[in-house]
Symmetry: C3
Subunit: 156 residues, 3 copies
C-alpha cells in the first residue's frame, strides 16, 4: 500500500469512482506539474444525495449537511486527479480550492461549508494539504447541486 | 493559411475583433506558457445581443439562446488569446474553462449552456481542445450579460 | 526603503496586517513562481466595515462604497502575498484578479466595483500591475461581505 492509501485506510476514506463529466469536458487536465480539476458535484454512485439551496429554514439544506457534501465533492475531485496522474502519492501540494455554495441570500456560512473539503484534504495530506481557498455563495448550481468544488494540485 | 485558420474556415467561424475591457484590466495576460483571459461577455460588435437572467419562463433568456452566447463568449476569449500570442496555432492545450451563467434561481441547466463554449473549442482544436471546466449559476453579471466565460490555455 | 515601499508611501497606502483565514486554509500559497491567494474580504482590523448586498436602493450598499471595499480586499490580498514571499518588490506581474460582488439581482455594475481592486494594483505596480480579470455578481458572500477578491501574482 502507498502512504496515501495507508492514510486513507486509517481515515476510513474510500476515493470514489471517477464521476463522468455532466457535459462536454474532461474531469481533470495536466499542465506541467499542475492538475486542474473540473468543478465537482457531491455525486455518490452517479446521483446527487440532495438538491437545493443551503440555508436556515424550511426547504433549505442545513449547513452541516452541506459541509458533508463539500467533503464528497473534494473526494470526487481527488478521483479526478487520480484519473490523470495514476496515484495520489504523486501529489506534492494542494494549491487551491474554490468552493461554490448554492445559497439562500441570507446564508453567510460558506466558509464552514467548504471546510468540509478543506478538512478532508488536511486529514489526508497533512502539511502538503494546506491550500489557498475561495468560498462564495452562488444563486444556483448545475443539476441543483448544493455545492461544487474545484481544486488545483501540484504533483511530481 | 494556418491549420487553425483552415479549420475555422471549414467551420464557418470568424474569430471576432478583440473586445476592449469594460474596466481597468487587460483582455489576457501571458505567464510562462499559459495565457489567462479576462472574463469574456458575449459581445458582438461592441454590444450585448441580449441581457438578463437565463431560465424558463416569461422575461428570461432560454437555455438554447444562452448556449449560443456562451459560444460567442468563448470566441471572444480566443480573440483575447490571439491578441497576446499572435496566432491561435500556437495553442497546445485548452487547460481550463470557467463559465458563469446569470441564472434564475430555479434554472439548473448551466452545464448545457456552457457546452456552447466547450463544443466550439472542441470543434476548433480537436483533442487539444479537451479541458477541465466549472459552470456555476450566479445572481447577475456585468452589464446584465447572460453569460461570462474565462479560459486558461497553454501555448508554445 | 524598497521601491514598492516608496510608491506605497507616495500613495499614502499602508499594507494591512495579514488577515487570518476565516476557516481551514492558508492566506496564500506559492507554487513555482506564482502566488495564489485565498479569497480576501475587506476586513479592517479584523472586522468587516459593512455587510450586505451591493445595489441601488434602501438597505443596499452603494457601488461607490463597494469599490472602496474591493480596494481594501486587494490590499488584504497583497498582505497575503507578502506573508509568503516577504517583500512586494519581488512581484514581477499581477497575473489575474477575480472579483466576486454580493449583488442585488438588479445590480450590474460589478466592473466598476472591482475597479477598486484593479486601480489600486495599477497605482502601486504600474505596468506590471496590468492583469486579466473576471468580475461576477454572486448571491451572497462569507460573513455577508459585500466583495471578495482573489489574485494570482508572479514573483522572482
Amino acid at each position: 500500500m502507498s502512504l496515501i492509501d495507508v492514510r486513507l485506510s486509517e481515515l476510513g476514506i474510500v476515493i470514489p469512482e471517477l464521476v463522468a463529466p455532466v457535459a462536454a469536458y474532461v474531469p481533470a487536465i495536466v499542465h506541467g506539474d499542475l492538475v486542474f480539476t473540473a468543478g465537482q458535484l457531491p455525486m455518490v454512485s452517479g446521483a446527487l444525495p440532495a438538491t437545493g439551496k443551503v440555508g436556515d429554514g424550511h426547504g433549505l439544506i442545513p449547513a452541516a449537511d452541506a459541509k458533508e457534501y463539500a467533503r464528497l465533492s473534494a473526494l470526487n475531485a481527488l478521483a479526478a486527479v487520480k484519473s490523470v496522474i495514476g496515484s495520489l502519492d504523486r501529489i506534492t501540494s494542494i494549491v487551491k480550492v474554490t468552493g461554490f455554495v448554492a445559497s439562500h441570500p441570507d446564508f453567510t456560512g460558506q466558509p464552514g461549508v467548504i471546510n468540509g473539503a478543506s478538512e478532508v484534504l488536511a486529514a489526508i495530506f497533512g502539511d502538503i494539504g494546506a491550500h489557498a481557498r475561495s468560498a462564495v455563495g452562488v444563486a444556483v448550481l448545475p443539476l441543483d447541486a448544493p455545492v461544487e468544488v474545484e481544486i488545483i494540485v501540484a504533483f511530481k
